[in-house]
Amino acid sequence: MATSLPRDAALAGKTDPGARGLRFVPLLTLLVLIGPVVAGVFGTIAPAFGLFPALTGAAPGMGGFDALFAWPGFSRAVWTSVTTGLVSAALSLAIVIAITAAWQGSPAFRAVERFLSPLLAVPHAAAAFGLAFLIAPSGWIMRIFSPWATGFEQPPDWLVINDPGGLALIAGLVAKETPFLMLMTIAALSQADAARSMVVARGLGYWRGSAWLLVVFPRVYRQIRLPVYVVIAYAMTVVDTATILGPTTPPTLSVQLVRWMNDPDLSLRTVAAAAALIQLWLVLAALALWRMGEMAAARLGCRWAEAGWRGPRLGFLRPGTILLAFVSSGAIFLGLLVLALWSVAGLWSFPDAFPGGVSIRSWARHGPELLSTVIDTVAIAGAASVIAIILVIGCLEAEQRYGLTVTSRGLWLLYLPLLVPQIAFLPGLQTAMLLARTPPHIAAVIGVHVVFVVPYVFLSFGDAFRAWDRRYGVAASALGAGPDAALWRVRLPMLLAPALTALAVGFAVSVGQFLPTLLVGGGRITTLTTEAVALASGGDRRTIAVYALAQTATALLPFALALGLPRLLWANRRGLRHD
């Protein structure tokens, strides 16, 4: 006792400069997240009202909006943007609810979880290519069944990909968004006290599905509401997936917007800016509509609970829900497989089920260039995810030491870069960076990636960090460790597994970024994603396949490391492996 007293006194009196800085990390993080969004939105608003000095003949006013409304495809483009966004989000959520309600707590549910997690890292563009190569009338499925089963010697003239109703786009989005919502739901379940509630509800005679919907779902949904909103905003404004799978006569508003941004007729940039603002407004309106749907669903749910109705016994549907998971994730796995086949294919004519010849020519041809692009991609993603996790750990530690808890309003700010459509603020950001005379530099690209990476890293790591048993911290202090030592020598090593997973999530998010890299990098900074989408306009499937696979591998590898490293490092500490 006598020896510990002076030590405590010394600790209390010592002002640690590092710790003082820590207090400002949450503020710094918010600035990093919000600054670019706000600057970008203003940079977009100015040209929408004709304030664009380099344009000859664009007077200030509403000319951009007039031209936008006069575009003959306007109403259809708006309609497809809104419907594909809302329908794909609703379907993804419905699939997640169905699987979770039917299977939560069972071994099958853990299998689904393991099956879906790697899909999260598959970049959207690669998944879309795979799906397109799979379901087109001349795609792999048709090739396998032709001509012996279908009788087709030539591919049928069926409109499957790029259909005006956007069904192919919806399918592509659902396949990619279901794993995301599923993992968010699984994370939320751990805090929903699901197991005990289920025991009580089932004890009262409710069937598994009804019990889950009535007792667990409301608590889960409160936590996945923002991720659902992110999915809606993303699906309504996505550019790369919609370019590959979406309608073309006319395209969705976001795809058309990028075309206007890039049109040689410079006056169309005011139209693009006006479309960006309309796009922003549409997202807000769709979210408001969704919110009303939430309230209606809540009222119905309450009435159901009050009525005491035990609900229909739908146990026979359980296998069907597994099928849903299997189809949506199987499409991506098969898509990746067909990409792999194309990457080594010689001539591969319809209706051959497999390529006529196999060669590594495509890989050899693109190898050297591919390698340098992989290095750039890894450098950007590595830097962005490391910066992000430092900020996130700083925020979480500050939250605990100074009680700077993230309120629900703070959480909204965290999600802001994901909720404001990229297309609404990145063009403006490009202009703002030019005005600030910032040349396209890898640092700027990393900076913009951090904006999109931080929210995901925060979501991925926050719960694990907060769930850490603080008694370890107390024990560390009792042994004489200051707060910094407790963080570095006890807490973070114990949280190695979730920290690495968060890094891997951040890495995958960065690898998948298309518009930020394209617009902020000024075309000089290329990553696997910008290369793959640029090649998409070309259409040599072998080249697309090589780049899409390289992109997928780059995003997936860190996940493998995140799984493997803790097992290696903590081979003799089972409790620290988090498996």
């Binding site: 344009l55 003239d157 005006p164 073309t248 001539l347 004519s349």
Partner: protein, 400 residues
């Protein structure tokens, strides 16, 4: 070696001290200023063969002139134009991101009109003396180039067809319509405003218009509605017989080639007589593909490179533009195993050895000889393309 490194380092630092522009006429000064520069060439990156060719150009100019060439791959040339516009609006008048653009037609007309180009420089390039001036190298879609862009490849419209499915290819736009009606869903066009799709419309316009000479003047000088009515009648008849009934279109020329390879269509327009042979050599098309032209002739034009007014490495870009006009680069581009692009050089002006490398090139199984190709029709004035694209989009681009 050490001296060379020191020299390179010194030169690399030079741009900071001397921002004065080099006169294109003083070629020695251009070459010495170019050494050590990095040229960012913004060029469409959708084709593996062109990308490989540009990489080869990069290795050659690095060897001979110490110029580092970086290919910025665009999915649409207009991306580079918007970049330069954004820089101008932000007052970036030097040290811009774009050093050179692969350009022609509408993009060139738009940049020229907005004073976004450096030059004139093209006619000061040493290899300009080898250029065949009877080819469309001084007018780009009827707009005079005024030395603001330098040609590097000649192109002419051909149609690719699968000889296994089409024994007798059509010889005119009217015959193409009749064939499409007999074989619905087996032909398409890249969706305008893709330049190749727009070219299809212009080719169709040439096929139905009474007096083609009106197309060479700006559209404002003609009775647009009267001239184009037969075109829209033609497209109204053709569209229901197109692939997917005209409810979806391939988004680019290469995507259209993929449809040909998948046997989804049998006839496809192309702007490069050697493209089919090159694709066959790369396993991208079956070896039953051949090409044909129309009896009344097909549209021809040239590809150019231009340098933005605020380019960071203007001298380096000029050196690359000049290298693209060298017999070595032009002969390599002609080879269907490499690129299959037509040359802009006048073979008469070359030395016998240089000429031999062109004449010995096997043009490939699907490529027509220069005689079979026939004379090229001039590109209509770019204003026609703008109006026709807009009109097409209103009539067919937003169809249910």
């Amino acid at each position: 070696m050490l001296a060379r490194i020191t020299a390179t380092l010194t030169l690399a630092l030079l741009p900071f001290s001397a921002s004065a522009e080099t006169d294109p006429a003083d070629w020695d000064a251009v070459q010495s200023a170019a050494e050590g520069q990095t040229v960012f060439w913004h060029a469409w990156g959708g084709s593996t063969t062109t990308n490989d060719f540009i990489a080869w150009v990069g290795s050659r100019v690095s060897e001979d002139y110490g110029v580092t060439l970086k290919h910025v791959k665009l999915s649409d040339t207009a991306e580079a134009v918007s970049r330069v516009v954004a820089e101008k609006s932000a007052g970036v008048t030097e040290g811009g991101a774009v050093d050179m653009i692969w350009i022609n037609g509408e993009n060139f007309a738009s940049m020229k009109e907005s004073d976004l180009l450096f030059g004139p420089f093209a006619e000061a390039l040493p290899n300009w003396s080898l250029v065949d001036l009877s080819k469309p190298v001084t007018v780009d879609f009827t707009v005079p180039t005024d030395g603001l862009e330098s040609p590097w490849a000649a192109a002419q419209v051909v149609f690719m067809y699968d000889s296994a499915d089409v024994p007798e290819p059509p010889q005119s736009m009217a015959e193409l319509l009749a064939w499409a009606e007999a074989n619905p869903g087996r032909v398409t066009l890249p969706q305008p405003p893709d330049f190749l799709g727009a070219t299809f419309l212009k080719q169709a316009l040439y096929g139905v218009v009474d007096d083609p000479s009106v197309l060479l003047a700006p559209v404002s000088e003609a009775d647009y509605r009267a001239v184009t009515t037969p075109l829209w009648d033609y497209m109204d008849a053709l569209t229901p017989a197109l692939w997917r009934g005209g409810r979806a279109y391939p988004q680019s020329g290469p995507r259209q080639i993929q449809l040909l390879a998948d046997d989804e269509i049998d006839i496809a327009i192309s702007f490069s007589p050697g493209e089919a042979s090159t694709a066959i050599a790369n396993f991208e098309l079956p070896d039953t593909i051949r090409t044909f032209v129309l009896d009344s002739g097909t549209i021809g034009n040239a590809s150019f490179v231009a340098i933005p007014f605020n380019a960071n490495a203007k001298e380096g870009a000029m050196v690359v533009a000049n290298f693209l006009l060298s017999p070595e680069a032009q002969a390599r581009a002609l080879d269907p195993e490499v690129l299959g692009y037509g040359t802009v050089l006048d073979l008469e002006k070359l030395s016998p050895e240089e000429r031999a490398s062109f004449e010995s090139t096997d043009l490939g199984i699907a490529t027509l000889s220069p005689d079979e190709l026939g004379p090229a029709l001039a590109e209509p004035h770019p204003t026609w393309m703008v109006e026709v694209e807009k009109d097409w989009t209103e009539r067919f681009g937003v169809a249910e």
